[in-house]
């Protein structure tokens, strides 16, 4: 019998490193920047898809190449993301 793996209450996620900057949006980060997702504006179908691929509040991501579309590293995978979605993802940079 497998014990409950998912707790009933989600503990607040602790960022693993200290954030160095104030909140900004994903499309504003330079190439190579790493950040933690703070908030995701309303979920369009495509945003839901990105979330199903691992983009949740609290997830650490890296901008591999900025642009439109940009390339994101998410859970080790490289994902091309349209600028329209990147504008709706607010992040906090980490060092």
């Amino acid at each position: 019998m497998i014990a409950a793996i998912v707790p009933e209450q989600m503990p607040p996620r602790e960022p693993l490193v200290k954030p160095v900057n104030n909140r900004e949006y994903l499309h504003e980060l330079p190439s190579g920047a790493r950040a933690v997702v703070q908030h995701i504006d309303e979920a369009h179908d495509s945003m839901r898809r990105l979330m199903a691929m691992g983009l949740c509040v609290g997830r650490e991501i890296e901008v591999v190449r900025q642009g439109n579309p940009l390339i994101l590293r998410l859970l080790g995978a490289r994902i091309g993301v349209s600028g329209r979605l990147a504008r709706r993802i607010s992040v906090e940079r980490v060092s």
Binding site: V6, S46, M51, A52, G54, C56, P69
Partner: protein, 655 residues
């Protein structure tokens, strides 16, 4: 012997799901549509020790609960709600060990559907190379179902997978998410599920000291560059087309020779008459004309499959996205747009990768505007008529025709997206998988599948229309003209070459007269007033009608219509072109003036003359409305453009 064991195969895109499917089923697979939808279904069979297994390859997706058509169809199939498909006995979920957390997201969703599940943990070879270690037993106990490590590309682990499938009866052990997880209760269902997958991944997977493969990053610096990437893409596609046109003509010539030989054989051994004519011209001509395009289609899909397998096509969609978006289409639409240069039919089928239904529809509607290979014989003929001895200018004619087709398709897409099919394109979310060596086996199987679908779908339609047109061109019959009879009588008094020439001449006259008096000829006369402003006469009218079977049929039809004889058209195109150049109307004026040729060229670039394409459009859009719309708008477009071109050239003083 038990009954058939029904399986479904699920997994993320790029997880190696299709490779596993091919490894299990090989050639024992077919593609079809789920009834009532445009979602593609691949079903195959393989053997287990004491029963036969049937496996359905579900489309790749990330989230079973997503709202798009593919996910809903998948859910219906797994739950047993899909019409004509019984509830599966078990599911295989392919998990990519290099993307374990994300793979487990889908695994947990499938487990919640309450059927026995086995997880095939793929890409173990890459894991080993990069020093990633997985505790498979622990993973299995955390998930609650068997986990089999495999390498789908090499077949490693597939034996064990079969063994597990053989005995798989139990439902997965209860998992908290299955019982306690309420999607609506938490503010983010994704986050909740990922908390589980992340924790399982943390405890079962260990990243060692191995070095990740740097090649993907290096290559992508170039290939995803906004400018270089686009040039690279065009370079790659040019390379593919170059390959196609270089290699394809060998089997094409073979097929052509085969069917001509078959036709000649029948002509020798059957008594002359309608049945022989039907067999040779209608059936063999129709089939040969369709099969001759098979090599191009095969090579194109073989190359595309290789490119996709390497992971390059994702980069292509990525760099083309920005450009295509200006027109209102997603980047993924570009590959079908290019494939349509070989044949619109498989291109329309490959628009399935476009997720948004509206974008897919727009792509399907404009694809036939792109110049397909069937138009090449027509372009060749018109280029030769326009610029008899100037190869450079003739090449320009070709380039112009291709450019016109592509540009019109792009503009048409823009117009459609801004008028009747308004709506924003879905923003791009696309994984760029690591580059890997492509599998020749997968490419071969994909090629066979596409070739078969082309032959079956397009083939039957083309054959029927060829026969239909043969009927139109043969009946009603008429008496041979007096002149021809006189010639034949004269021929019987001569011998050798002179006799043969007279006989040929007489035959040409008879054929010409028969065609003129047949139903096709009458229709040609009937539409003449409508097409005269385009610079065409009733004879060209018959040619256009015959193109509805196959565009290139116009060349041989014109040969008959202008009394040149079909044999000449095949054996010596130059003599056909020469005769057409000199063809005159009854009032002595030249038929194929420059203005007429250009007008005819524009007509053939833009007109919808391939009923087989329409049949496929109907299938892919699931309605009659869109193929009819396609026919109407393209016909109006072709007519108007031809009219403007002809009258415009006339006004400018070009005869």
């Amino acid at each position: 012997m038990h009954g058939v064991y029904r399986l479904v195969l699920a997994g993320n895109p790029n997880s190696g799901k299709t490779t596993l499917f091919n490894a299990l089923t090989g050639l024992r697979a077919q593609t079809a549509n789920y009834p009532g939808t445009t979602v593609e279904r691949r079903v195959g069979h393989f053997d287990l020790p004491d029963k036969e297994a049937e496996i359905i390859d579900l489309p790749g997706f990330y989230d079973l609960k997503a709202l798009s058509e593919e996910e809903r169809v998948a859910v219906d199939v797994i739950a047993g709600r899909s019409p004509n498909i019984s509830k599966p006995d078990a599911a295989i979920v392919v998990a990519d060990v290099m993307n374990l957390s994300r793979s487990l997201f889908l695994v947990s969703q499938v487990i919640e559907m309450k059927l026995p599940v086995v997880v095939a943990l793929n890409m173990m070879d890459i894991a080993e190379a990069e020093g990633v270690r997985v505790d498979t037993a622990k993973l299995a106990s955390e998930i609650g179902c068997p986990v089999v490590p495999i390498v789908a590309r090499t077949g490693r682990g597939i034996g064990e997978l079969r063994a597990v499938l053989q005995d798989l009866k139990a439902l997965p052990a209860p998992m908290s998410p299955a019982k306690g997880l309420c999607d609506a209760c938490n503010d983010c269902p994704f986050r909740t599920r990922y908390a589980w997958t992340d924790s399982v991944t943390r405890c079962c997977l260990e990243r060692g000291c191995g070095i990740a493969n740097p090649w993907t990053e290096k290559i992508d610096k170039v290939l995803t560059h906004p400018v270089i990437g686009i040039f690279a893409f065009f370079g790659v596609m040019l390379g593919v087309f170059f390959l196609i046109f270089r290699i394809a003509h060998i089997p094409m010539d073979l097929i052509d020779a085969l069917f001509s030989g078959l036709g000649a054989h029948i002509e020798q051994h059957m008594p002359p008459g309608d049945l022989r004519s039907l067999l040779v011209k209608g059936v063999i001509g129709g089939m040969g004309g369709m099969l001759v395009f098979l090599p191009q289609i095969c090579i194109l899909f073989f190359c595309l499959s290789l490119l996709e397998d390497t992971g390059y096509l994702a980069r292509a969609a990525f760099v083309m996205d920005r450009l295509m978006r200006c027109v209102g289409l997603p980047g993924k639409a570009f590959v079908p747009l290019l494939s349509a240069h070989a044949c619109a039919i498989p291109a329309i089928m490959s628009t399935r990768v476009i997720e948004d239904k509206r974008d897919r529809l727009v792509s399907i509607l404009v694809l036939p505007l792109v110049s397909c290979s069937a138009r090449i014989p027509v372009y060749s003929m018109l280029a030769a008529l326009l610029f008899a001895h100037d190869a450079g200018k003739a090449a320009l004619v070709f380039a112009g025709a291709y450019a016109l087709g592509l540009i019109t398709a792009v503009i048409a897409a823009w117009i459609l997206k801004h008028t009747i099919l308004k709506g924003e394109t879905h923003p791009l979310v696309l994984e760029l998988p690591s580059y890997k060596l492509p599998s020749l086996r997968t490419a071969f199987l994909t090629m066979m599948d596409r070739a078969w679908v082309f032959m079956y779908k397009a083939g039957t339609v083309i054959l029927l229309i060829s026969i239909g047109l043969w009927v139109l061109a043969t009946y009603p019959k008429s008496a041979p003209p007096a002149e021809a009879i006189a010639m034949q009588e004269l021929a019987s008094t001569r011998t050798g070459d002179a006799a043969r020439d007279l006989q040929d001449q007489a035959e040409r006259l008879i054929n010409h007269s028969a065609l003129e008096n047949s139903a096709a000829g009458r229709i040609g006369h009937w539409i003449e007033p409508a097409i005269r402003p385009l610079g065409f006469d009733w004879q060209i009218g018959i040619g256009i009608i015959s193109s509805f079977a196959a565009r290139e049929a116009v060349v041989s039809t014109l040969a008959v219509v202008y009394g040149v004889g079909e044999d000449a058209a095949e054996k010596n195109p130059e003599s056909l072109y020469d005769s057409l150049r000199h063809a005159q109307r009854s009032d002595g004026s030249k038929v194929f003036t420059s203005a007429t040729c250009v007008s005819l060229l524009v007509f053939y670039v833009l007109a919808m003359q391939c009923l087989a394409t329409q049949v496929v459009t109907r299938r892919e859009t699931n309605s009659l409305r869109w193929p009819i719309f396609q026919l109407i708008y393209m016909t109006v477009l072709a007519y108007t453009a031809s009219l403007l071109v002809f009258q415009g050239l006339r006004a400018l003083g070009v005869s």
